[in-house]
Amino acid sequence: MSNSVLTKVREKLVYSRPDSMYPRKMHYCAGCGHGVVHKLLGELMDELGIAEKTILVAPVGCAVLAFFYFRADGCEAAHGRVPAVATGIKRVHPDHVVIGYQGDGDLLAIGTAETIHAANRGENITVIFVNNAIYGMTGGQMAPTSLVGQKTKTSPYGRKAEDVGYPIRACELLNTLEAPYYIERTSVHDVKNVLKTKRALKKGLMNQIEKRGYSFIEVLSACPTGWGVTPKAANLWVAENMASVYPLGVVRDKGAKA
């Protein structure tokens, strides 16, 4: 409905669903951060023209269906095994863009060993880690990244550190390893940070394309359903509670100009 009735106003489409994404409604809950990360990934596939040589490895978790949304080849790894499957694929197709996409249960609970060892090998893949401090798909259980005191289905009285330990900081953990080329933590809880996330994802993909080695991008993400709050409140919680436990920013960038 054009705004001005008098003059014929021409308008140009300047933002829409990325071509690299199938026009399908995503299955994520309202306000879920996964959808934002998917959209950014789709935009980057367009901009870098890599969809046709991308192979997306999806985890077991809310993002288990991730590959249905991209015009790229994809496969589903057993829970926690994305980095291993991605390694197998990357070794067969060194010139393809292999993306490991995981949630916190997949990457930091059952898949901790695969995470650390793919990073330690400096596998030339891009790992996108969506940290929403909970197991979403299975209905809201405590994750390795759940905050101290955070109430979940399996920490109904709030996570007790003396009983089940503390939130694990994946970026800092991997930063103790020699091989990783680029490690950054971002968030998608507001527009500014979504754009930062896109820049980080782009760097992670470019590093792989230029064969520089292992890139790891952790994205703090809201889980309104799992946390039992509105999307708006969830993003606020990310900003006010998660970001202090999980500091945002570049943890390591071997490519950064000194």
């Binding site: 790229a72 095994r81 197998g88 393809h96």
Partner: protein, 354 residues
């Protein structure tokens, strides 16, 4: 002039590695565990020589998932381990089966359960033939009984895996792996398998390829997959059973054993013949698909069937299924890595005669 094929002396575990290379396997993901260590060690040395990739994974579990990735990408990939390590791979094998990916897994069995020991054993028969992972799936199980067969069956495993898009397990044991015997290295079959319809190679000018096994909708999507898998298994059962018989023409007793045990039974058959007792040997080579029909035929008219295994009695159940009530089936076994001796078997059979 027939070229006399050159015989070489090779250790069982290494023959597996060389055969895999001959078969065109260029991706091997392994993990240290006795008594199969020479397989990864050989591949670590050999694959770089042929432009292949060897990777020691952080666990057997990671290794089978690397195989999953390489197979999904369209490559011939293999992993090997021994019993405890194979237990860790069961989930991955179920995923490979659900996603219909071709892969070769080698199990050089060792004494169990638990940490067990590092001697050879046949205690993983149930796990191998009934499936140690979740869900209705089968995979081919080949049981070599010599270093020559370790090579031949490893080569065969890759063709069967690609032909049926299935996991093929080469089921040896620690003794076979550690033995050195002369063999003739097999020639590649030359068969080609077109994977361009499903392999993950990049969705260029084609729709995306997806390799996965989560089937949520429509409601019967997973059942449809299972029906298709079962249909495939029936075809394999019809076409791919393999066995060997020895001295069964007029045998009154039939000895049944696979792998290492079958060699011991061959010795027992010779000893029994000297003692005037006519016994023959039936050796299944494929443990799945199990040669039920062939064994039923071979068992007909025998006074008694004796199954000998290096376990508490596992294949004996399949033998009973095959033989039903046409002949009585007896079992003799040793566990914990102990080897059944020819004398004990001869004595057991002679006991039938009195």
């Amino acid at each position: 002039m027939t070229a006399t094929a050159e015989k070489i002396l090779m250790k069982g575990n290494e023959a597996i590695g060389e055969a895999a290379v001959i078969a065109g396997c260029r991706y091997f993901f392994g993990y240290p565990i006795t008594p199969q260590n020479e397989v990864p060690a050989y591949m670590a040395m050999r694959l770089p020589q042929v432009g292949g990739t060897f990777l020691q994974a952080e666990s057997e579990l990671a290794a089978i998932n690397m195989v999953f990735g390489a197979a999904a990408a369209g490559a011939r990939a293999m992993t090997s381990s021994s019993s405890p390590g194979i237990s860790l791979k069961q989930e991955g094998i179920s995923y490979l089966s659900g996603a219909e990916l071709p892969a070769v897994v080698v199990n050089m069995m060792r004494g169990g359960p638990g940490l067990g020991n590092i001697a050879g054993s046949q205690g993983d028969y149930f796990q191998s033939t009934r499936g140690g992972g979740h869900g209705d799936y089968r995979h081919i199980v080949l049981a070599p009984a010599s270093v020559q067969e370790l090579a031949d069956l490893t080569l065969l495993a890759f063709d069967l895996a690609d032909q049926y898009r299935i996991v093929v397990l080469v089921l040896g044991d620690g003794y076979l792996g550690q033995m050195s015997e002369p063999l003739v290295l097999p020639q590649p079959s030359g068969k080609q398998f077109d994977k361009s319809g499903w392999a993950l190679t990049g969705a260029k000018v084609r729709e995306q390829h997806l390799v996965y096994s989560l089937l949520l909708s429509p409601e019967d999507a997973l059942e449809k997959l299972n029906l298709r898998l079962q249909e495939k298994y029936r075809v394999i059962e019809k076409n791919e059973t393999r066995h060997e018989t020895y001295n069964t023409e007029d045998a009154e007793y039939l000895l049944v054993g696979f792998g290492m045990c079958a060699r011991i039974l061959r010795g027992a058959v010779v000893s029994l013949a000297r003692a005037g007792v006519k016994a023959g040997l039936f050796r299944p080579i494929t443990l799945w698909p199990f040669p039920y029909r062939e064994l039923a035929a071979a068992a007909r008219g025998r006074k008694k069937i004796l199954v000998v295994e290096m376990n508490a009695g596992q294949m004996v159940e399949d033998v009973r299924l095959a033989v039903a009530d046409s002949s009585p089936v007896d079992f003799y076994g040793r566990m914990g890595g102990m080897i059944p001796e020819v004398e004990a078997i001869v004595e057991r059979v002679r006991g039938y005669v009195e």
